[in-house]
């Protein structure tokens, strides 16, 4: 199978579209927003040429896109959609409803800055805004990872212990529009991996009619939410198992995080998504100069794999977290907060500082990342947690 991999030149969006085609979902809801548009445009071509069985529903807003996904998924079948930025913000209430109704919808989010001012470029403000929604969240470094994650997401969301929707994030423009070499699978391999959809409590079952979305008073809402907590807990081992199965199929072993040269590192940067690629480049350069630096890439953000992160970062002296979104008024960005919280109980915990970067698609380059490593390397003793802004003019 690995030998049969077909390399194709695909942007992140086209990789997502091609993966969607191979999944051949029952329903796809589509509403355009930059930088998602080319994914749905490509999928529309597949649809128009009769290459999928999918019902393509070109809805009139993102809110309706997720609403249609909820109706379709509840009816009982595979559902995929995609959005970005203000589109995700518009469907916010339904995003929560999709997770609360335990519907295994898969959604690609081409991470883009939230308005205002309107900015169409990549940062994580959109998906971070949904981190409490109950969706499983993956942050994908490149087109290959996006392509592969679509299949894993399908399996993970539909798993009977999980039954949660999955957000497949990729950096807007940086990953969504960059052409890369993607090793693709055969259609049959994909279908075998994802398996047939097994409906659970579908609306279309008239023998066992079901009611979705009732009114919970104060006597039951908490219990229903507790069930979602349990599903997230159960998701972590399922995700690891599915990743392992996928690795057997494709030769690409993703796991839930990537520990790059961390074993003997003195200093490390924690980051997500495409910036992990740049950071690895910097790590390689600095390692060739004898500097003991490493990188932890967080691939799975929800459920937050605290134990695995603790294991990866233990023994590191100084850590810088790179956050591609701000939580205004908070003590640091979202990733910083979660990492620092996870490390709090560790006896020999590293010093952890935060760098907010890349907002509105502001470029981050190797020189800047090396500057962060240099700071970590030159710091001695205790580094109080501080929040820095990397790449903004005026600081």
């Amino acid at each position: 199978m690995i030998d049969m991999a077909k390399p194709m030149a695909l942007t992140g969006n086209f990789a997502a579209a091609y993966a969607t085609k191979q999944i051949n979902p029952h329903v796809v809801a589509a509403y355009p927003i930059t930088p998602q548009t080319t994914m749905m445009e490509k999928f529309s071509e597949y649809y128009a040429n009769g290459e999928v069985d999918t019902e393509l529903v070109c809805v009139e807003s993102e809110h309706s896109a997720m609403s249609t996904c909820v109706g379709a998924s509840a009816a009982g079948g595979r559902v995929i959609t995609s959005t970005a930025a203000n589109g995700l913000a518009l469907m916010f209430e339904i995003v929560y409803i999709a997770a609360s109704n335990r519907l295994p919808i898969v959604m690609c989010v081409m991470n883009r800055a939230l308005s205002a001012p309107i900015n169409i470029h990549g940062d994580h403000s959109d998906s971070m805004g949904c981190r409490d929604s109950g969706w499983i969240q993956f942050y994908n470094e490149n087109a290959q990872e996006v392509y592969d994650t679509m299949f894993m997401a399908t399996r993970i969301g539909e798993h009977k212990d999980v039954r949660l929707p999955v957000m497949v994030n990729l950096d807007g423009f940086i990953t969504s529009h960059k052409i890369e070499k993607v090793n693709t699978l055969e259609d049959e391999e994909v279908q075998k991996f994802i398996g047939a959809y097994e409906p659970v409590y579908p609306l279309l079952d008239f023998e066992n009619p079901v009611t979705y979305g009732p009114l919970d008073l104060t006597d039951y809402y908490f219990e229903h939410k507790r069930q979602q907590v349990e599903a997230m807990k159960k998701a972590l081992p399922v995700i690891k198992k599915v990743s392992s199965e996928f690795s057997n199929l494709s030769g690409r072993d993703y796991g839930i995080l990537e520990a790059y040269h961390l074993d003997d590192a003195d200093c490390a940067i924690v980051t997500m998504s495409s910036t992990a690629g740049t950071t690895k480049f910097v790590v390689d350069k600095m390692r060739s100069e004898g500097k003991k630096v490493g990188m932890l890439k967080i691939r799975l953000f929800r459920p937050f794999p605290a134990e695995d992160i603790i294991a990866a970062l233990s023994g590191i002296k100084n850590v810088a977290v790179l956050d591609r979104s701000e939580s205004f008024g908070a003590f640091g960005g979202p990733l910083y907060n979660e990492i620092r919280n996870a490390m709090y109980d560790v006896d020999e915990k590293p010093n952890i500082v935060d760098y907010i970067f890349g907002l509105g698609g502001r470029d981050i380059n190797a020189v800047q990342i090396e500057g962060v490593f240099n700071r970590l390397m030159s710091a001695s003793g205790k580094m109080p947690g501080d929040v820095n802004y990397l790449g903004v003019r005026g600081d």
Partner: protein, 315 residues
């Protein structure tokens, strides 16, 4: 068309035990619709009186598959269910000849106002479903606040009958006419007071493929301030005064039906709208001295819209 006695042999899909008010028009409408067809039905419902009162966890009064999603997206939700059904036919998982009907319910709040976008989108896309608005002319579930369907002069909690502003300032939106602009295969206005007309229209709609819209007049004893036993009377009176004509638009052809048809052809008397307004406490203040112009305005607007409708229907 099935007669009432034949309908009594059908399964009741909205059971007793729901917690809508005594005399609620909405449950009468839903019962009449679900009895008028014996196809399997998937129902989506917007947040509102109907949804909240029929599905208080752990109870559901629906014996058919039911989904509540949010307030403004009943039409988008049913679009998804309908698309899934079609997709299952594409894949062969469901046989081509299997018939399932998709009905989306929404109150006037969830249809005229916040839901109008998703309704318009679903209709334009041509999904095979029927949208039923149970129009009780205000946001009743949250405490009788005005909507764009609230009539002129009606007292609601956000358009109270005050000393300076006596009730709602605007005339109600004519959503049925807005929907007419979508050029659907079937659009109609019904009243549960004229139940045979409502049932006939439902049967007809269920045999038509494509997007359909039904605007159903839904008296609310609590919000309109009338006795709980008067709901059917009020539902009839609105038609008799031509305040809520019953008609259908089939592929752009307008046709008055039932009582409205009889009024237009002169066989039944058109009652003054004041008779209708007097039947409900929400209009009581309009009969106080000083509000005569408002009453005149209401009659004038009813007449104006009725004239237009008669003309469109060929009278």
């Amino acid at each position: 068309m099935a007669n009432l006695k034949q309908l009594t042999e059908r399964e009741e899909r909205l059971t007793g035990g729901h917690r809508l008010c005594a005399g609620c028009g909405a449950s009468i409408i839903v019962r009449q619709i679900l009895l008028a067809t014996d196809y399997p039905v998937v129902v989506s419902c917007a947040t509102g009186c109907l949804e909240v009162s029929t599905t208080i966890y752990p109870y559901t009064a629906w014996k058919n598959p039911f989904i509540h999603n949010a307030f403004e997206n009943s039409a988008a939700t049913i679009s998804g269910a309908e698309a899934m059904f079609k997709a299952h036919k594409n894949t062969g998982e469901i046989p081509q000849d299997k018939k399932v009907k998709f009905i989306a319910f929404g109150g006037d709040g969830g249809t005229y106002d916040i839901g109008i976008q998703s309704l318009s989108g679903a209709l334009e896309r041509g999904h095979d479903f029927m949208y039923v608005c149970y129009n009780n002319e205000a946001y009743m579930n949250t405490g009788i606040q005005r909507s764009s369907a609230t009539p002129r002069g009606a007292a609601t909690t956000t358009s109270p009958a005050g000393k300076v502003v006596p009730g709602k300032k605007q005339y109600p939106k004519d959503l049925t006419e807005v929907i007419a602009g979508h050029h659907l295969p079937y659009i109609c206005q019904v009243s549960p007071g004229y139940y045979m007309d409502l049932i006939k229209k439902t049967e007809k709609a269920m045999e038509i493929e494509g997007p359909k819209f039904m605007n159903a007049f839904s008296p609310c004893p609590r919000g309109w301030r009338h006795a709980s036993n008067a709901s059917i009377d009020v539902a009839k009176l609105a038609v008799d005064c031509c305040f809520w004509p019953i008609y259908e638009i089939e592929n752009d052809q307008y046709a008055l039906t039932g009582q409205s048809k009889l009024i237009a052809s002169g066989k039944k008397e058109k009652l003054p709208v004041a008779d209708y307004l007097k039947s409900q406490g929400r209009f009581k203040h309009l009969f106080a001295p000083g509000n005569e112009e408002i009453l005149k305005g209401i009659q004038g607007e009813v007449d104006r819209r009725w004239e237009k409708l008669m003309k469109l229907s060929g009278y």
